[in-house]
Symmetry: C2
Subunit: 467 residues, 2 copies
Amino acid sequence: MTTLERRNSTTQAVAEIRSLLGDRLSVAAAVREVHGKDQTWNPGAPPDAVAFVERTEEVQKIVAVCGKYETPVIAYGTGTSLEGHFTAPFGGISIDLSRMDRIIEVNSGDLDCRVEAGVTRKQLNAHLRDQGLFFPVDPGADASLGGMAATRASGTNAVRYGTMRENVLNLTAVMANGEVIRTGSRARKSSAGYDLTRLMVGSEGTLGIITEVGLRLFGIPESIVAGVCPFPSVEACCNATIQAIQMGLPVARIELVDAEHIRAFNAYSKLDLKVTPTLFLEFHGSEASTREQAETFAGIAEELGGGPFTWASKEEDRQRLWQARHDAFWATKSLMPGKEAFATDVCVPISRLAECVSETQKDLAANNLYGPIVGHVGDGNFHVVLFCDRGDPDEVKRVKEVYGRLIDRALAMDGTSTGEHGIGAGKIAYLEREHGAAVAYMRAVKRAFDPRNILNPGKNAAISLTQ
Amino acid sequence: MTTLERRNSTTQAVAEIRSLLGDRLSVAAAVREVHGKDQTWNPGAPPDAVAFVERTEEVQKIVAVCGKYETPVIAYGTGTSLEGHFTAPFGGISIDLSRMDRIIEVNSGDLDCRVEAGVTRKQLNAHLRDQGLFFPVDPGADASLGGMAATRASGTNAVRYGTMRENVLNLTAVMANGEVIRTGSRARKSSAGYDLTRLMVGSEGTLGIITEVGLRLFGIPESIVAGVCPFPSVEACCNATIQAIQMGLPVARIELVDAEHIRAFNAYSKLDLKVTPTLFLEFHGSEASTREQAETFAGIAEELGGGPFTWASKEEDRQRLWQARHDAFWATKSLMPGKEAFATDVCVPISRLAECVSETQKDLAANNLYGPIVGHVGDGNFHVVLFCDRGDPDEVKRVKEVYGRLIDRALAMDGTSTGEHGIGAGKIAYLEREHGAAVAYMRAVKRAFDPRNILNPGKNAAISLTQ
């Protein structure tokens, strides 16, 4: 298709979709901009139009129209992804699922629920609270559950409760030909056929558009204890984490916050923490069990020269702590006005964590770069936030080189380029470096499911298909 | 291909493979028989030859030869699957992986390991014991870990530790064109690309031949308490299970054993249990935590008219209990000489468990059939073992009808036809009933990965392809 042909066919697709949605299809520049650019360094690209859908059947019809005109279709939840997942490098229709925000059912007896894709995690948890239940996956942002499934999100609780990979029971998706499938039952486990649920989770809108998600739920623990524990070094934080995990301490959250972040938190979130590398922790269980866990951890910390471990069981104090952690990106960004942020997201086997972090810190120092670190260290996952002045070509070059070496370092340690953010558009270059010959099989799946490559082209394994 | 052409090409494939393996390729009738028939009702079909491989490269070469001659290739581990997974309805080469039994590495600090596909779970656990580690997935049989991955096995510990879906970190597989891929890193989580690991887990040798598996490990708990708790009815057992799960009791095993099985266990395994529906339980944790869990469960049981809950923390007593549970199939079979066993394996949301079991019992009684029940009830998964005299056409008919109604009942409750045994050849008829339009996407994956359908044809989603 030539550029002109593409433009004409997109115009026709937009006209047909307008006849379906009326003023729920927007071509306003401001709306298109918001739906075409995330909050990071990744370049934006606005879609040709944004469709505010309300039902799965509307998604079906839009995808069918887009299939007819070979127009790209890009799913959009809350726009909180960090790898340009929802940008439209080839134009097309952005399907905004935020109005599909119905909580379809909560089966408290089975500890599961079913929601539309646009329901956010905070909305779901507010709904569940009175029933004594919660959904644990917490990437920080109040993301939509459809988007979290599509990007295989995780976050602070994953060390205990798993990621979206473990917590999506089944899902409903509109496939490239407009057909709707549901990928599984409400059974906790099944050996019936290929695991399409896990295939769709993390496929970033390139294999189908997720419109409903079945999720596992958990009972709110009888006791929740959260606290902070300062350490003399990042390495000591990592070593304490390694010991806790290796001895099987069922920690619910264990987050590394480096001294730079502590300084930023104190300023941005009005905390009063000692400026030194610190672990933020949380324990879930019975009263007896959380006390036992906290005491065990305090012992580990002391042995490594850390502590004191101070903890709070009052909900407002816990909330304040985790809100600061969630605002980490904004807190450090506020210290670096005018700079843009490169988000990084490597994850390594935990025995290599301290080494990976300290080598990365040396590389930052050698290149005179500011790169504060936070991490879901219980999983071996950490984020160096690389701040960069786009107008300084030498700094851009150094940032990109440090970024590449960070990923190479993680891969050499048998880790991954991305623990939770995804490939999107931003990490395409690293997919083959990480997976080698296996990428051909990802692309074979993509071709089999979406031969015209209309679903989120240019992202994840969809990149190499002709478009 | 005509039958004659197929026979000629298979003969050529066998000759080429013999030149590779020498006497490690067997065409002996007895060897072929063993590799073509499982221990259940499912019909057998011997392969043309059995290749005893020792290295991944040999599997590659064999698959390449079979690709050239369009000869079926069927992976074989320990032959303990229950749905005819390894039979050879179209002939071909059985690849016996039992000699690939090397434990490649144990990373105790990361709680993971890497093994060749032929390593069995007992072999691995014997190797790990001195390091204070264990691999939790326990399907009863001493199955190979490659086979367990291929069938998405689970068993008694899944309620706490998950199934092979959650416990395979990554795997190495030989694909239909002879290429080797590795599906992931040792990172605990990753959002890099499509989840090929989960796609291969449960694919039953139809998408590739698994030759190595990376597995999660766990520390052996400080305290393990196991016990038995009698109840007045199967329904009371189910209700106690439901309460325990709903309140978040982190039970490690919770197994329903009906009165028929207790009778069989007492005879076969020399136990002395009260002949009534019983739960077998196990708790893992610290000394304080297992005691707390056991006491909490005893309270639940008492409320429901069950108990007393008697427990043992001595390893030999626990082993005796679980060995009896694992021998359930043989114990009941010994009571029914001359009859064959239909294994069933439905799994339903736990709130429907009591209802599903009791309706099934009524159906058995109405049809004058003997169908003792055991189940991994914490997951909503239970097995009715349907004994059947193949020479009695009326009984065969009644068994098949009860079997079909059992699956329909589970599906109507938003459950699955198979919690852990798999589709294999035996449950092909139920795959579409369970997954509807989604089956087409499974077949699309199969066609994309194995266009000539040489990998385990006639099983799982591979059935409808021309062969």
